[in-house]
């Protein structure tokens, strides 16, 4: 996505993603192997807000480390499936919630060892 699609607050504790006309698919019979797909489009606005509770997930065997904070995440979206004349719009951002969210920083692969030293 273009970097202009994401905006961080000055303190880094919130991040807002916003995109329009993202091409997606309508696939009612998923995960059937022969499930037909129909082109659709989506607009969305996604807000992450960090809490003060730190988290760290690391696995040296798999060469990854995530350090950050538990967070909340909220979503507002609109979907259009032109071929069946269907649209769906969620209620405003504030009305949604998520069960799990974290935000922070990650290093993995070739960057993993370098970030330790």
């Amino acid at each position: 996505m273009p970097s202009s699609g994401i905006v961080f607050s000055a303190d880094g504790k919130t991040a807002m993603l916003q995109m329009t006309d993202v091409p997606i698919i309508d696939q009612p019979r998923w995960p059937a192997m022969d499930a037909a797909t129909t082109p659709a489009f989506m607009d969305f606005k996604l807000l992450f807000t960090a809490t003060d509770e730190p988290v760290k997930y690391e696995d040296p065997a798999h060469q990854y480390r995530f350090e950050g904070f538990k967070a909340s995440a909220q979503l507002e979206a609109a979907i259009r499936v032109a071929s069946i004349d269907f649209t769906f719009k969620t209620d405003p951002l504030e009305s949604s919630k998520s069960d799990f969210a974290v935000m922070g920083s990650e290093v993995n692969g070739k960057y993993y060892e370098a970030a330790r030293s």
Binding site: G5, I24, A40, A77, N108, A115
Partner: protein, 158 residues
């Protein structure tokens, strides 16, 4: 360039109507609305965009064929997570103590969330609940290594 990630449809459920036999017209919107809010828009970096309200677009990151016997260093596509890729997936559901990244050889900002739920309205005025435990969204913004060089990118998984 668009990468397809683990397919996880978002189920929309009528709020004020109770399906009774799984085949009624009441249920049809459910099936139709297995519209994957994310059908996987993991979008490549460096696409031209406007400030917010950015639009996505196609971009190839496949390795170019070098002319004149020049070295082939690969393309700009990010590396998949090896142990997920071998099973045909590019990510896993976000939860504590798992690899949250969708890219191997990455350093930067990352956020992931799942279990989204809320309510909304279709173009016929029907009210629906949307979301499942696997409705997940994320962003990754930072440096990744591909084609033998460091690259900058911003990605989202919807």
């Amino acid at each position: 360039m668009k990468f397809r990630l683990t397919a996880k449809p978002t189920m929309l459920t009528p709020i004020d109507q109770v399906p009774c036999n799984g085949r009624s017209s009441v249920v049809e919107p459910n099936r139709r609305l297995l519209l994957k809010l994310g059908a996987a828009s993991f979008l490549a970096p460096s696409l031209p965009g406007k400030l917010l309200h950015a639009q996505s677009g196609p971009q190839s990151c496949s390795p170019p064929i070098p002319p004149n016997h020049a070295p082939a260093n690969g393309g700009s596509c990010p590396y998949p997570i090896p142990w997920l890729d071998k099973n045909g997936n590019h990510n896993q559901s976000p939860m504590p103590n798992v690899e949250l990244s969708n890219i191997y050889h990455f350093t930067g900002k990352l956020a992931r969330a799942n279990g989204f739920h809320g309510t909304g309205t279709d173009n016929h005025g029907n009210r629906f609940a949307w979301g499942t435990p696997t409705t997940d969204y994320s962003y990754m913004a930072g440096e990744y290594w591909a084609g033998r060089q460091s690259r900058q990118g911003v990605f989202t998984h919807t």
